[in-house]
C-alpha cells in the first residue's frame, strides 16, 4: 500500500525516535552544523519539515548524505530534539525506497563517481548501517 | 544448606556467649522435622533447640517490632536471623519507624529455598515422618507411615521461594551465606499476567471461588510484616468497616482489597500471606498485582530495598498516569 506523505513523516519520527514537537526553533543545530553549507536543507529545516509532514523533498534530496553524523546538533540541542537522528531516519527511508535495503562495497565506486565530494564518514556510517 | 546451618547456629551461640547479644530470634525445633516455630532464645543453653533448615520459611522481621523495643528496655540486643527476602521486610519496618535498629543485630543467613510441607502433602504423601535431602541437592526422599518416596525440591518450594527475589541481603550486620546472588528466580508476575489475560467474567469467577474459601482467620494479616497496625480497621468497631467473618461474599472482597491497598507500596512480597493461609488462597496475587502496577505506572520500586525510601503511595510526580488508564474513561 502506498503510504501518504504524512504516514512517511510519522515513520521518520518513529525510526528516529526523535520528538520533533520539542523543537523551539532556536536554530542551535544549524548554528553548530559543520556540514551546513553542504546540505540543501539544514538541520533546523529537517526538523521543521518533518514536524509539518513535508518529507518528500527531503527523501529526494541527495545532499542528505552530506550530514557527517557528527552529532554536534544532538549534543547541543537545548530541547533534546536530536536532529541528526531525523537526518539518519530520512536516509534509512531513502535507502528503503531504493531497490533492496543493502549497500555493498561494489556500490562505493559508483557513489563516488556520482559525487566525488561525498564525505568518507558518511560512506562509512552508511556502510555500517545498511550492509546486509 | 547444611553447612550454612551449622555456621549460623555456631555463630549465634558465639555472639550470645561473648555478650554481643543477649537474645536470639530464630526458629525452634518442633515435634516433627518440619514444624519449627519462630522463637526468641534467651540463654545459650536454650540455643540447643535452634534450627535452620529447609523448613524455616517464617519471616522473623515482624517479631522485631516488639522484641527490639523490649531488648532496648532491658539494655540488651537481640540477634535476628534474616533470610534475604526477610531483609526487605525488616528495612520496610525500619522505614516506618517500627523497629529500634540500635537494639537489633542482624545476622543475614544464606538461603537455598524453603520447602512447603503442604506442597509435599499435595504430592500425595500421607503421614510424613521425615525427609532427607539427597546428595544431588535437587530431590528429597520422603519417609511416611505408608512407605518412602521421592520429590523434586523445585516442586515443593514455598511460593515465595519458587519466585525468589534473589539471594542478596538488603541489610545485615553480619552475613553467613554461600550463595551467589543470581537475581530473581522465575517470573513472579506470571500469575498476575495470567489473570489479567482472562476475561473479566473469568477473573471474577476465579476470585469468587478463591475468596469464598476465606474463613477470616486473619492469618494472612497477622503474619504480614506490613500489616503491623496496632489495631486493624477490620477489628475496630469504630472504623465503620469492622467485620469478623465472611457473612456475605462482599466482605471477603472488601477485606482483601483494603488489605492489599493498605500494604500497597509497602508490601515487600515476602509471601507470608500465601504461605500461612489455611485455605491455600493465592493472596500474593493481590500484592504482586500492586507491585506490578506500581512498577509499570510509577517506575520500578522494591519496598524494603533500602530503609528510608519514600513509598509510591506517599509520593507523586506531576505527570503520573491518569486513573482513566485503568477505568476506560475520565481524567482530562
Amino acid at each position: 500500500m502506498q503510504m501518504s506523505e504524512k504516514d512517511v513523516a510519522a515513520l521518520v519520527k518513529e525510526i528516529s525516535g526523535s520528538d520533533v514537537k520539542k523543537c523551539m526553533k532556536c536554530g542551535k543545530c544549524s548554528a553548530t552544523c559543520p556540514a551546513y553549507g553542504e546540505m540543501r536543507f539544514h538541520p533546523h529545516q529537517f526538523v521543521a519539515m518533518v514536524a509539518r509532514g513535508r518529507v518528500e523533498e527531503l527523501l529526494k534530496d541527495p545532499t542528505v548524505t552530506r550530514c557527517l553524523s557528527c552529532f554536534a546538533c544532538v549534543e547541543r540541542c537545548p530541547r533534546g530534539v536530536e536532529p541528526a537522528n531525523v537526518v539518519a531516519a530520512i536516509r534509512v527511508l531513502a535507502e528503503r525506497e531504493q531497490e533492496g535495503n543493502n549497500f555493498s562495497p561494489a556500490d562505493v565506486p559508483k557513489l563516488l563517481s556520482q559525487d566525488p565530494e561525498i564525505p568518507q564518514q558518511a560512506l562509512v556510517s552508511a556502510f555500517r548501517k545498511y550492509r546486509k | 544448606m547444611q553447612r550454612v546451618s551449622e555456621r549460623v547456629i555456631a555463630r549465634a551461640r558465639e555472639l550470645m556467649r561473648e555478650g554481643t547479644v543477649n537474645k536470639v530470634a530464630g526458629w525452634k525445633a518442633g515435634e516433627f522435622f518440619y514444624d519449627c516455630a519462630p522463637y526468641v532464645f534467651e540463654s545459650e543453653e536454650s540455643l540447643k533447640d535452634l534450627v535452620y533448615d529447609r523448613f524455616c520459611a517464617a519471616n522473623l522481621s515482624k517479631y522485631m517490632i516488639k522484641n527490639s523495643v523490649a531488648a532496648g528496655a532491658e539494655g540488651g540486643k537481640v540477634l535476628v536471623l534474616l533470610k534475604p527476602c526477610d531483609t526487605y521486610s525488616f528495612n520496610q519496618l525500619l522505614t516506618e519507624h517500627r523497629i529500634a535498629r540500635e537494639n537489633v543485630y542482624v545476622l543475614g543467613v544464606g538461603c537455598e529455598g524453603m520447602c512447603d510441607i503442604d506442597r509435599i502433602r499435595e504430592k500425595g504423601f500421607k503421614g510424613i515422618t521425615g525427609v532427607d535431602e539427597n546428595a544431588d541437592g535437587k530431590t528429597l526422599t520422603v519417609h511416611t507411615l505408608y512407605g518412602d518416596g521421592e520429590v523434586a525440591i523445585d516442586d515443593v518450594l514455598v511460593n515465595k521461594c519458587e519466585f525468589c527475589k534473589g539471594k542478596a541481603h538488603m541489610i545485615f550486620d553480619e552475613l553467613i551465606s554461600d550463595n551467589e546472588d543470581e537475581g530473581p528466580r522465575g517470573d513472579r508476575f506470571a500469575g498476575v499476567r495470567e489473570l489479567e489475560a482472562m476475561s473479566p467474567a473469568d477473573r471474577f469467577a476465579f476470585w469468587q471461588s478463591e475468596l469464598s474459601k476465606c474463613i477470616r482467620c486473619n492469618a494472612c494479616r497477622n503474619a504480614c510484616p506490613a500489616c503491623s497496625c496496632r489495631k486493624c480497621v477490620f477489628d475496630n468497631d469504630a472504623s465503620g468497616i469492622a467485620s469478623k467473618a465472611n457473612t456475605d461474599s462482599f466482605e471477603e472482597k472488601m477485606f482483601h482489597i483494603i488489605r492489599a491497598f493498605h500494604v500497597a507500596g509497602r508490601c515487600t512480597d515476602c509471601g507470608e500471606c500465601t504461605r500461612v493461609c489455611p485455605q491455600g488462597i493465592p493472596l500474593h496475587l493481590f500484592n504482586r498485582k500492586y507491585i506490578k502496577d506500581i512498577n509499570e505506572f510509577y517506575g520500578e520500586y522494591a519496598a524494603g530495598a533500602e530503609a528510608g525510601q519514600r513509598g509510591p503511595l506517599i509520593n507523586y510526580t506531576v505527570d503520573d498516569i491518569e486513573p482513566a488508564a485503568v477505568s476506560d474513561k475520565g481524567g482530562n
Partner: protein
C-alpha cells in the same frame, strides 16, 4: 441391625437417593481445599482426604448465622426471628475425631440454656461417619480415648477394597439405611471379615503414629488448676503466637461465638459468628479486655481445652486430636507442643 455395603463407585447413587428426602453434606473440593458443602450431581466422596479445612462442626454450628432482624416501622420496631432448622439432612464422611467433636459441642450447646439453633440442627441431622483411610503423623485422637476404628455417629462405616461397609448405631441411622435399602446390599461373612480386617490394619497404623505416646497426664479435672495456670512456660509457648484465629476456626471443638449486628440500611441483622479467644477483642467489655496480653489469650485457649472444659463436663477434654491445628498454624505452635511442655513427663506433679 446387620451391616450393609455399597461399592464406592455407587456412592453417587446413594447420595442421589438420600438427597430426595434430605440435604446431603459431604467434603467437597473448592479451589484445592475441602470443606463440607451440599451434595450436587457430579460430586463424589474422596476417601483419601483426611480432613476438611473447617471441621464438620460447621454443618451444625455454621461460621455465621442470622438470629434476628429488626427494622423501624413507623414509631415501633418490627422484629422477626430466624426460624431454627426444620429440615432433615445428613452429614456424610465424618471421621471419628469430628464425631467426637460433636459430643464436645453437645455438652455445651445442649445443656441449659439450650442453644435452639444448634439443637434443631442436631435433631434434624444424621451423622454418617467413615473410618479415616490413612491417619497422618499429626493425628492423636487416641490420646483422648477416641476409637478411630469405631467412628460413631448415627451410621458408621469402613472402607475396604472399594466397598463401604456400614452399620447403623441409632434409630436415626437405621431409618437412614432403611431409606436407601434398595441401593445398599446385605453383607456376607466375607464382607464382615473384610471390614474387620480393615479395622485391624487401621489399628496397627494408629499404634505406629508418632504422637501415639502423647498422654493427657497433668491435665484434666484431676490436675490442679492454679499451678498449671501459673506455669512460667506459658510465656515462651505463646511468644511466637501471631494472634490469628486459624487454630480456632479449623478446630472441631471450639465453640465460642460473637453476636454482631449489620445495618443494611433497611434493617438490622443480628447474627452470630465464630469468635476466637486468640483475638485481642475477644470478650471485650466496656472496661476493656480481661486478657490484654497475647500470652493470656493463648493460655486461655489451652486451659479451656485441657482444664476448664474437663472441670465443667465431667472430665471430658475439649480436644479430639484431629491435628488440624498442627497442620494449619502459621507458626507451627499447637496443642501438642503445649501438652509436651506442660504435661506428660513435665507435668506439675512430677
Amino acid at each position: 441391625m446387620a451391616m450393609k455395603k455399597i461399592a464406592l463407585t455407587q456412592l453417587e447413587q446413594l447420595f442421589a437417593a438420600l438427597s430426595l428426602t434430605r440435604k446431603v453434606y459431604l467434603p467437597v473440593e473448592k479451589a484445592g481445599q475441602y470443606d463440607y458443602a451440599p451434595w450436587q450431581p457430579g460430586l463424589t466422596y474422596h476417601p483419601e482426604v483426611l480432613h476438611t479445612v473447617k471441621s464438620a462442626k460447621s454443618v451444625f454450628f455454621p461460621q455465621s448465622e442470622d438470629l434476628i432482624r429488626y427494622k423501624r416501622a413507623g414509631l415501633s420496631l418490627e422484629i422477626s426471628q430466624q426460624a431454627p432448622e426444620d429440615e432433615e439432612f445428613v452429614v456424610f464422611g465424618v471421621h471419628a475425631c469430628d464425631v467426637a467433636g460433636f459430643e464436645v459441642l453437645d455438652r455445651v450447646f445442649l445443656s441449659e440454656p439450650v442453644d435452639s439453633y444448634y439443637k434443631a440442627r442436631r435433631e434434624h441431622g444424621t451423622v454418617f461417619s467413615v473410618m479415616c483411610a490413612k491417619p497422618e503423623e499429626t493425628c492423636f485422637c487416641g490420646t483422648f480415648g477416641i476409637d478411630a476404628e469405631a467412628p460413631g455417629g448415627d451410621v458408621q462405616s469402613w472402607l475396604a477394597d472399594g466397598v463401604l461397609y456400614m452399620e447403623a448405631l441409632t434409630e436415626k441411622g437405621e431409618a437412614l439405611l432403611a431409606a436407601v435399602s434398595g441401593i445398599v446390599s446385605e453383607v456376607d461373612d466375607a464382607g464382615t471379615q473384610a471390614a474387620a480386617e480393615t479395622r485391624a490394619a487401621h489399628k496397627a497404623i494408629m499404634e505406629r503414629l508418632p504422637l501415639a505416646d502423647l498422654t493427657t497426664d497433668g491435665f484434666g479435672a484431676d490436675a490442679e488448676l492454679l499451678p498449671l495456670f501459673n506455669r512460667p512456660e506459658w510465656k515462651e509457648l505463646a511468644s511466637s503466637c501471631l494472634g490469628c484465629g486459624t487454630c480456632t476456626y479449623v478446630c472441631p471443638t471450639c465453640q465460642c461465638y460473637d453476636i454482631r449486628e449489620y445495618n443494611t440500611g433497611k434493617e438490622i441483622r443480628r447474627f452470630r459468628v465464630w469468635d476466637s479467644c486468640m483475638y485481642s477483642d475477644f470478650t471485650m467489655m466496656a472496661a476493656g479486655t480481661p486478657r490484654p496480653d497475647q500470652m493470656q489469650r493463648f493460655r486461655q485457649r489451652f486451659m479451656h481445652k485441657l482444664k476448664y472444659y474437663p472441670d465443667n463436663y465431667g472430665g471430658a477434654f475439649s480436644c479430639v486430636g484431629c491435628g488440624r491445628c498442627l497442620q494449619k498454624c502459621p507458626i507451627s505452635m499447637n496443642i501438642v507442643k503445649v501438652m509436651r511442655k506442660l504435661g506428660g513427663a513435665n507435668h506439675n506433679d512430677k
